[in-house]
Symmetry: T
Subunit: 148 residues, 12 copies
Amino acid sequence: MKILVLHGPNLNMLGIREPGIYGDETLDTINDKILAYAATKNYSLEVEFFQSNHEGVLIDRIHAGFNDGVSGIVINPGGLTHTSVALRDAISAVHIPTVEVHLSNVHARESFRHHSYIAPVAIGQIAGFGSTGYLMALDGLLSCLSYE
Amino acid sequence: MKILVLHGPNLNMLGIREPGIYGDETLDTINDKILAYAATKNYSLEVEFFQSNHEGVLIDRIHAGFNDGVSGIVINPGGLTHTSVALRDAISAVHIPTVEVHLSNVHARESFRHHSYIAPVAIGQIAGFGSTGYLMALDGLLSCLSYE
Amino acid sequence: MKILVLHGPNLNMLGIREPGIYGDETLDTINDKILAYAATKNYSLEVEFFQSNHEGVLIDRIHAGFNDGVSGIVINPGGLTHTSVALRDAISAVHIPTVEVHLSNVHARESFRHHSYIAPVAIGQIAGFGSTGYLMALDGLLSCLSYE
Amino acid sequence: MKILVLHGPNLNMLGIREPGIYGDETLDTINDKILAYAATKNYSLEVEFFQSNHEGVLIDRIHAGFNDGVSGIVINPGGLTHTSVALRDAISAVHIPTVEVHLSNVHARESFRHHSYIAPVAIGQIAGFGSTGYLMALDGLLSCLSYE
Amino acid sequence: MKILVLHGPNLNMLGIREPGIYGDETLDTINDKILAYAATKNYSLEVEFFQSNHEGVLIDRIHAGFNDGVSGIVINPGGLTHTSVALRDAISAVHIPTVEVHLSNVHARESFRHHSYIAPVAIGQIAGFGSTGYLMALDGLLSCLSYE
Amino acid sequence: MKILVLHGPNLNMLGIREPGIYGDETLDTINDKILAYAATKNYSLEVEFFQSNHEGVLIDRIHAGFNDGVSGIVINPGGLTHTSVALRDAISAVHIPTVEVHLSNVHARESFRHHSYIAPVAIGQIAGFGSTGYLMALDGLLSCLSYE
Amino acid sequence: MKILVLHGPNLNMLGIREPGIYGDETLDTINDKILAYAATKNYSLEVEFFQSNHEGVLIDRIHAGFNDGVSGIVINPGGLTHTSVALRDAISAVHIPTVEVHLSNVHARESFRHHSYIAPVAIGQIAGFGSTGYLMALDGLLSCLSYE
Amino acid sequence: MKILVLHGPNLNMLGIREPGIYGDETLDTINDKILAYAATKNYSLEVEFFQSNHEGVLIDRIHAGFNDGVSGIVINPGGLTHTSVALRDAISAVHIPTVEVHLSNVHARESFRHHSYIAPVAIGQIAGFGSTGYLMALDGLLSCLSYE
Amino acid sequence: MKILVLHGPNLNMLGIREPGIYGDETLDTINDKILAYAATKNYSLEVEFFQSNHEGVLIDRIHAGFNDGVSGIVINPGGLTHTSVALRDAISAVHIPTVEVHLSNVHARESFRHHSYIAPVAIGQIAGFGSTGYLMALDGLLSCLSYE
Amino acid sequence: MKILVLHGPNLNMLGIREPGIYGDETLDTINDKILAYAATKNYSLEVEFFQSNHEGVLIDRIHAGFNDGVSGIVINPGGLTHTSVALRDAISAVHIPTVEVHLSNVHARESFRHHSYIAPVAIGQIAGFGSTGYLMALDGLLSCLSYE
Amino acid sequence: MKILVLHGPNLNMLGIREPGIYGDETLDTINDKILAYAATKNYSLEVEFFQSNHEGVLIDRIHAGFNDGVSGIVINPGGLTHTSVALRDAISAVHIPTVEVHLSNVHARESFRHHSYIAPVAIGQIAGFGSTGYLMALDGLLSCLSYE
Amino acid sequence: MKILVLHGPNLNMLGIREPGIYGDETLDTINDKILAYAATKNYSLEVEFFQSNHEGVLIDRIHAGFNDGVSGIVINPGGLTHTSVALRDAISAVHIPTVEVHLSNVHARESFRHHSYIAPVAIGQIAGFGSTGYLMALDGLLSCLSYE
């Protein structure tokens, strides 16, 4: 079973700068953490990671995931969450179960971050738990895929 | 360490009626599932469950939790999510780390369910994962409490 | 066949105070009037009355109605009409045919009274006919239950 | 005592088409039903029926009703409910007690159907009870006219 | 002359926790302060205090106040200020002169706190003066009751 | 200690015209009442009064107050309450503790009177208590200045 | 020079009913008054009057006016003012200078009467002067037609 | 196969006036153009044309079309596009496939022209192509009717 | 009988600059025109003119008018129309019948010019007729004062 | 004459997946259909096709079209329709006549799909006719280019 | 060439109070800085400074500038930016090229500061650069006047 | 000191097309102008230019700028100003002082151009001064970097 973990715009900057503020975890660290967690779930679970700052590249990757037989997607769409109908349509088009995750509690930030174009076409949304949110997202996704 | 799991209005009706639609899980089943999951986390974790259809009773219970030394709260506020400033203020008042969880994907339902008065004063929000969402909430809460 | 007539907040004050303004009818008088009218409908029609100023108590009563085999509900949710998602969810949860009734013409009053959270999950809404509205509600409910 | 029953746009199509969906009742059947019900109310009650798809014709008919000594109006304004200030003004102008009735539960449909220009100048509004709603409207109107 | 002082949700938590933030005054201290101030006003002034986190219980208490001959009400509705039409209707129903008071300056906080359902049916609103606001409310109420 | 009492547009017309409606109190009477009340507070309290129908003159007076060592301001900004960002900025600029007062209950009037540009930069707002509101404002201000 | 005076829905009811409220002037009286006033303006001024409760008939009449060489229109569109884009488009289509007049001060009534679809395509709008408004409209129209 | 082409308010004025602005095409010319185009489509295609400035007459014509066995409708509802729920309901009621067409690009004009009550119950909408739009509409309609 | 004609901000610039655009009429010319027109009305009609760019000065002048026994006001509030609650309150305070006039058709300009704070407290509003509008305003005012 | 047909995000997925739902037509099939249709129009008509999921790539292609002498554009902007000001500006910048086309009836879907940033700078919009819409768009474009 | 630099409400308080917060620069210092900068631009550039807390006085000064042959205006309208249509109209009336400048980044402050009535009638707006913004404004203005 | 000048979508088309409208300046000319101006500022100032029509590429470039030690950014985000949260987040993430510049006066154009997602995370915004705006932006940026 293949799971695609998609990181949207600016998530490549995690941990590189201002570790005092954003923590020591780089995106690689988080991906490793997800990989380690996935390994505890089931020996045959394959997790692919992909980050891009480009809406179009993320859409391309979702389409490719469809062709590659991806069973589920965990996506942190970053700022595109609030502005991208095209990304939403990509998820609708491939019909792959998708979980939306945010590091910060978007509901406690600027009002334009309260709305998500992605959430209505996802299984659900997780926000506010830092990198742990990705592990929770994996649990939620696997539960939905009747995997565990 | 004591964790309080609060179920808001109408959650007592889960599983009792129309199991074909809402699933076989009663609230007791879900609570047992949470308990079992908590047991895998740490031997000394105490979980208390409480359900009420009354806003005021839920607020009273949160206050009591403060006096009882509750370390964290998992709350599914049901319909009060979208209407209760008093419940929000109760969570703010006790300053106990709180996770908001919803069985359904509220972001994919009527527009009045997209807004939460609770989320901005919670650690974060989880929506759309059915009863698994409670287990994810426990993970998120424990992670925030630096417990695991 | 059991019918539950629910009176929401402040309806207990009817007729007690300022009869020159609100009329001579107390809530008991209205209930008697409903009972008398029900008696003209069918010998086996059982009508139960319940008033509460508490959202939670009304929800509890609706749940209890489900367990007691109530066939239909007539509800005047008072001020909760415009603010209670939890009450709406209670009606959705029990799937008992429900009629919403208001003594006054809510559509001719303050704009916040024009919107009802209850109406979309009810069979229909009746407003502006004073205590006669309850009798009309009974007719509407029975018609829907294919009773007459 | 003369009662005018006004049917607005598209109500002439009732029962003619798709009886599986809209029921077997044509507008004539509904009118006969109203007539029969009126007959049970009081021997001297005269009911006139009028349907038009034209806003202006309905306004003319209301004015004519004023000249003809109509005591009360039951109106289903159809789609004009949500768009016609002129129809509202006609009802205000003649000061004849008027009841607004809708076959469907307008509050559970598209949001533009939640608002009525007519309701604030009517005694009240009844929605969601199919053709029974007309009989309920007659009851509400007669009660208001202190007739029964 | 009897004055009823009503404290809404979460006000029971005052002074108990985080005195550095909220001050040393518990609700009891505030009530004593009000009592002492009332004593300076007129020897025959009776002040009753009541706190509840339950909307319904507050409504019940207002109704009871009507039956007990309460002459005026000072109410801090807490979070219910912004959400409770039922509480507003209770105040309208009993027609007892009422003053709304808030410890904090609600107009300088989140935008949902700027609107009050209670204020339009009250004599007036006082916000931002901490516990002193209750004494000011008493002055405002007594002035309105032509007492001093 | 110097307190500045500012009266905004149209308050000079109080009591002069239609005493049956607005009461017998002229602005001078109100000012005298404030002065008398201030005298009961503390022998060294100096109160200055100023009325203007000009936004700019009121701003000038606030600036002058800063230069004159005014310790607190009581302001009834009249219609400027709802329209003047410049007046708000003047209060912010001088950082003198300020209390906003309204004779009428602005929250029960036209909706454009519900919003105040001044309140968010004031200690608090008092509305609905007629001329007594000024005395209450003085109490609120002095309490804030830790004066009594 | 031909002037067309158009009266929209419900204006035919003027003066017929409740003269104590609406005045003694029937629409005929008003038309006569306009005619008399026009006669004082210029001997060759021809004024035609037309009233209809039908949007379509009013549009037809405007089109006919174009074919008949009408130089200017005075229109009181009644309730259609606020709802009829088609009427607006008719005026735009014929490019005949048009003055909008209202008997009542629409800006002081319900908020839906503040907006006019007609005014932006008219020379101007006159509201609140009763039947005198028509005479003022004639003046305004003639001035615009460089007639006097 | 019968196709009904409906022209709404003010379209009868096309080409008659200001040909420099609106072009030389009268409505008759456009209808002839449609007829000629239809003739190229299929020898048995019957096209009926109807124009009215009256909402009610257009609704009557749609109903008549249902009785006459009309297979498809091309409608330019003119200004009624943005204001007529009754016209929308007529199209819903008869369930005849309908195409909405506009001569001008309504999306580039006043904001009230961006919304159409008709479009959601039509197959689709075409705007901005002048009289060619009608031919395109015919193509779209026939394609939908699986005709070509 | 004294009539006060008030010109608000920027009207002093009329006719001075860009006569090709704004016409040759200076404010003095317009005032003379009003005076001449008033002279045709009644020999004893006294008209006073006042222009100011200051909100406060205009309010002062309205108050002074009250003291001077002004019977009616014609006001072109310029840009203050859309922003000044204080000016509105001044007119309400003095209860002198007032007519609002605008040179341009404010309803056909930027949307913020469609709303007037003044109109709801005036007899009525006239807009779009250039300097003729003042003469029409005088007619409307005199008619209201039952003068002619 | 060169025509550029632009397909926006997710249109590459057409026909590949779930043919039962979206039909058998792949984007290649649709392009071939357009090509065949174009061939019937005029022997010298050159049609270029381009699809991208990237906003920026689509903008680049439009700019390139300007340099290549493209005479007209048919664009289905997919989800970018509702979110991309940059795409709108690209079309404005090159001033090439452009037709917007949508496979589905966007006006009958989620409200955020009703608004188009592209339509106001296009000749017009076509929505709801499936792949036939592209052929209609070609007709509309050619008509606008005075080609046929 | 004469340039007028206008400072609106509260700018006279700059630098006088709380230099730690607002900086050491008084308005005089800023004016001197502008003067010095102007001197580097062109020997014949005359700069006049004017500050007022009065909307009307600022309007008068703009009008006077027109009479004095002012070639360009740099204005910091302070709080009037967001509330004064009259000030906007003054700038429109004199048609003198005007640059709007703000010390703070208004777009990062309260939402009511995001909108400017002045900007649409100005050459442009500069915000967020402190006193340097005035120098930039001078550059922008001179560039527009084709001066350098 | 390195300064990065970023040009967003469509700015590559400047000067190439329609020089009569947009001026003769190509983007290269503008860049040269900036370079020349920078040279007058300080011998060691390094300016890099980058243009892209791709949101993602612009974000990548900002990230790269962080790694390259860029001290300040001047950005004209073009149409992305109003739609890109991801671009805003990129600027927030790198914490490099940034100035937003627009060639045209966005506040005087379509209302959707009045809002900027970028401005609140920038030092400030400059709009309306054509290519001179870039030079002003450089001044503003350098002033902020305490460079001159």
